[in-house]
């Protein structure tokens, strides 16, 4: 079966530091692929490479067999790849609901321009998504007044509103309180399964990875040091030392 996303032999370096050193990875339809690894090992760079934010020095990225290595983030987004960020990327002086509605409108096509952003249907859809991530009560707040954890959730909801085929999540549970972590992941995974969204997530929390990922890539110094089902990977002594021990 052809993978949704396939990266081959990616190389990129920043000021001589190799952030990706011959990385290849692929993700198949319906997978929840987790990437774990120590801080600074280049995990976020992989997401940047796969979404066109950073261009690789060499190597290629294919989406459904189409070469997207040189495409801009907006073009890749329109092909059905959405991203939630480690540091939430929001329209911070706009209301939560407006953040959502603009994302929904982006999907509808921006060029229905003389109609207002806020329509009944769009508002209902936005509210439903906010309910899903537990932000229903915050919908009229200005997004930069939200606590960090909630901003993180909003960032994920904004990405979901694009109705992607592939969702890239950068540490979705960091900044979310321990108490809310698993309820959030349950809701998120439920939504992903229901909408048949494939997900790749960078994660720090090993419990989250063990419970939700069906494949794990262990990252170290710009490359993959181990790969497999969480149960097997977490038995690997090298992995335990380099990653889990640190985390």
């Amino acid at each position: 079966m052809q993978p949704i996303l396939e990266a081959k032999d990616l190389h990129v370096a920043f000021n001589g530091v190799k952030a990706a050193d011959g990385v290849s990875l692929s993700i198949h339809d319906g997978e929840f692929l987790a990437i774990i690894g120590p801080n600074g090992s280049g995990k976020t760079t992989v997401l940047n490479l796969c979404t066109g934010y950073v261009r690789p020095k060499s190597g290629s990225v294919h989406l459904d067999g189409q070469d997207i290595t040189r495409l801009a983030p907006r073009a890749i987004a329109r092909l059905g790849v959405a991203r939630a960020f480690q540091i939430p990327q929001l329209f911070s002086d706009q209301r939560v609901i407006d953040n959502m509605m603009l994302s929904l409108a982006a999907k509808d096509g921006l060029w229905t321009m003389m109609r207002p952003l806020e329509t009944e249907a769009r508002r209902a859809e936005a509210e439903a998504l906010l309910g899903l991530v537990g932000l229903a009560d915050d919908k009229n707040r200005i997004s930069n007044t939200l606590p960090e954890g909630h901003r993180k959730l909003l960032d994920i909801a904004v990405a979901l509103a694009l109705k992607p085929r592939l969702l890239l999540l950068d540490e979705p549970t960091s900044g979310v309180s321990a108490l809310e972590r698993f309820p959030l992941m349950e809701a998120l995974m439920g939504a992903l399964r229901q909408r048949q969204i494939t997900a790749l997530f960078v994660e720090h929390d090993m419990d989250v990875v063990a419970r939700y990922a069906n494949r794990v890539l262990v990252w170290n110094a710009g490359n993959i040091m181990a790969e497999g089902h969480p149960d097997e990977v977490f038995k690997d002594q090298r992995v335990l030392q380099s990653v889990v021990g640190v985390a």
């Binding site: 976020t44 940047n48 934010y53 960020f85 480690q86 540091i87 990327q89």
Partner: protein, 299 residues
Amino acid sequence: MSNTVIPLLLDSLASAALIFFAAVGLTLVFSVLRVLNVAHGSLYSIGAYVAASICLFIASRQLSPYLSFVALLFSAVFVAAILGPLIERTLIRWTYGKSEAVQILITFGLFLMLEDLQRMVFGVQSLYEDAPVRLLGTSQIGGVVYLNYQIFLIGMAVLVVIGLRMLIRHTRLGRLITAVVADREMAQSIGIDTNRIFILAFSLGVFLAALGGALAMPTSGVAPGLGADTMVLAFAVAAIGGLGQIEGAAVAALIVGLARVLAIYFVPSLDAVAPYAAMLVVLLIRPYGLFGAVTARRI
């Protein structure tokens, strides 16, 4: 050959020197304070007005004309000592960390106020006193007669470039400024009094602006509108060199000076367009100017 090249070269250099004086303070202030001061041109014209007033006073009392050279320098120091700290403390300080739009608007407000204040203090007639020019006399190069004052201006510009370089590279103040430019918060956290640095740097910028105006006065006089005209020229030069790049401003001044003189020699009607056309071409190719650097955003 040399009959056309030498005058052209000397004209360009003299023109570049004046243009450099208009821009260097603007770019210095931007590099340290990260504020684009739209009122910079007014400080230049105030320097010119003060210099003109003092020189006219000297002439009217028939004091030694050599005093007028002292007067040029003194007016710059005078304007900087009074307006530098005053403006920095009251207005500029408020804009730190604010958006560029706010900084531009606040200093535009200041520009409007200074324009009227100049009119109220110095009147609307143009002032002109060329004692320094007459004093230095003329000389002949390649059969063409030159004002020695032009050569004096070129020398002063070179002096300022070297002086600023020495100040920044080799003095304690320079190192403190460099630290603040590199990382404001870090500088603060290791105990550098950034407020003091900002006042000093801004006042130095005002000094350079006023000095530029004072030095230009004996050649072209001063009249209402000089501030506004100087401002755009300073913008153009600072932008071409890369905002915040002092050596960049010097190179940019040479380019603009040459462009202007070439225009005057060959297409006189386009001399006023030359600086802006040069700015457009450079910025469209290198948006951050010839010597400017780009910083990427982390996500």
